[in-house]
Amino acid sequence: MIRERYLNALTLALFVAIPFWAITADEPFTITLMTRAVVFAIAAVGLNIALGLGGLVSLGHAVFFGLGGYAMGILAYHAQNYTPLTEWPFLIEGTKSMPLIWLVAVIVSSLAALVIGILSLRTAGVYFIMITLAFGQMFFFFAISWAEYGGEDGLSIYVRNGFPGLNTLDPIQFYGLCLGLLCLVLLFAWRLSGSPFGLALNAARQVPVRVETAGLDPVRLKLVAFVVSGAITGLAGALFADLNRFVSPTMFSWQTSGEIMIFIIIGGVGRLFGPVVGALVFVALEHWLGALSDFWHIYLGLLLLVIVLFGKGGLIGMLCGREAVHD
């Protein structure tokens, strides 16, 4: 058994070493793949706050991923066409600045998470799963029918948005930016899980009645977790859109929700680095198995079945044993 801390350090080292190798070996596509893994990891760290810590099985996190993506798409679309977003009640213009776009993405996805959370948390268990899934579909169909922003075809952004002091068109600089954000998000998730709020949330997942007796409202704790979780996934959505310079309703699709969940399961539910390991393994599988066979989803499905049925705790659980907070 390896200590989980060493495995985490090794994972981070891989995220630094692989791109360095890619630069020296002149393999820019590897950097793009790694950026994809980092962005997926951020989205999954977000979901893991709701899922691992709060026990909320949300099958609708694509909503926030998509909202982040469309926040970027719409702002950049207006900026590249020099058209205002709206002129009433006051003039709002598009922007090509990443920090502003991230801010909008986070605000919009938190608001959506608040509304969806308030409605969905009236229920629990299977109802919660189905309702979050249904809200995901609602946004998906809305995006398809919203012809002003590309409808089914989505929006293309010609030039990647800018970040002060960096040349984001250079793959390695954009990668570094995303990796920096992932580290910040991981730090935040780690601090959160050890904070009084995180401990209360952990307890609310396991024995809600006791938390209530202690004078805390478990539903409110879960709602806050859901909003924080949605905000982080929204940030990942904005980065994903910038990586591809393209947004489409696919970002809202229920398969996207399922995939974000798969990252966590492959790595390990409730583990700090579970989503990170899972996203890296998923992108590697997608790349290698995808090159071997057009039908690589069959193998992904089989792997997932094996992990769910026999390997409780994901890859980290298999390598490090069961010592994490997940019950």
Partner: protein, 306 residues
């Protein structure tokens, strides 16, 4: 906007709702008896449609296709229950979601492997093709009327099965107290396999029937699956009656919303805005309906437990 159009659309909505009921009934039965959330139910719908299309193309008989759909989906359901689902009853919902999501990946890609990416077509049989004239001079496709009739017959049969037969007694007992009926000497594992295969057969039937008016392709099951989830959330999980009422509500809301919302908005807005806002709103209408039901009754219209 005439009365004839209104009646036509109501019939369309009814037909859509009845097909949703066939899906939702299986889902709600499986959840009620086994406590299992089955995302792969849409795959069984797809399997039914593919079996029907393949057999109908080989034999030229639509009815043989329907039999193949029922049998194919039921066999697939029983196999999946024996191999995978059986291990999930004691696991939490997250594991159930993931394992059945994995099954979707396997079924969808497997079907694509066997049949290719191009859609198959299933023709409406001759004896059900063409329109009929309803009282009041309304011309309506006979096949869609037949779908409504078949669906209602299945609903009646299901009700009789559950309220009047020995198997139905066991199913109802299984919903209430599975340990007790196991102690009374009922083979609970066999009962679960039967219920799962029954739900699968209903999904397969729906897939085959709808396959004749839409194309039969990989991925056809999931949109219907999610609508069926909306249906059982509205109706209340575990309730067949709730599934029927919820399905018809969803079918009518979706169909009528798509036609009438743009028309209603045209009274207030200019036509092009009204059309785009109306169609956006219409695509969200059933989810708004679901949110409204949740606010008023979190356990659904006929749900006993949350």
């Amino acid at each position: 906007m005439s009365l004839i159009l209104l009646i036509e659309q109501v019939l369309n909505g009814l037909q859509f709702g009845i097909m949703l009921f066939l899906m939702a009934a299986g889902l709600t039965l499986i959840f009620g008896v086994m406590g299992l959330i089955n995302l792969a139910h849409g795959s069984l719908y797809m399997i039914g449609a593919f079996c029907a299309a393949a057999v109908a193309a080989a034999t030229g008989s639509f009815l043989l296709g329907l039999v193949a759909a029922l049998a194919g989906a039921a066999i697939a359901g029983a196999l999946v229950e024996l191999l995978v689902i059986r291990r999930l009853y004691t696991k939490d919902h997250l594991d159930q979601v993931l394992a059945t999501f994995a099954l979707i990946l396997i079924f969808s890609e497997g079907t694509r492997w066997i049949f290719g990416s191009f859609p198959l077509f299933l023709d409406v049989p001759d004896f059900l093709s063409g329109p009929v004239t309803l009282p009041g001079g309304i011309e309506y496709p006979l096949y869609r009327l037949a779908l409504i009739a078949v669906g209602l017959a299945v609903a009646l049969g299901l009700w009789l099965l559950i309220s009047r037969t020995r198997l139905g007694v066991q199913i109802r007992a299984g919903e209430n107290d599975r340990e007790m009926i196991a102690a009374l000497g009922i083979d609970i594992a066999r009962l679960y396999t039967i219920v799962f295969a029954l739900g699968a057969a209903l999904a397969g039937l729906a897939g085959a029937l709808v396959g004749a008016i839409q194309s039969v392709q990989v991925g056809m099951g999931e949109p219907v699956l999610i609508l069926a989830f909306v249906v059982i959330v509205i109706g209340g999980i575990g309730s067949i009656k709730g599934a029927l009422v919820g399905a018809i509500l969803v079918g009518l809301t979706d169909t009528l919303g798509g036609i009438f919302l743009p028309e209603i908005l045209k009274l207030f807005l200019d036509p092009s805005t009204a059309t785009s806002v109306g169609s956006s709103l219409a695509s969200m209408a059933i989810y708004i309906l679901m949110a409204a039901v949740l606010i008023l009754r979190p356990a659904g219209l006929f749900g006993a437990r949350a």
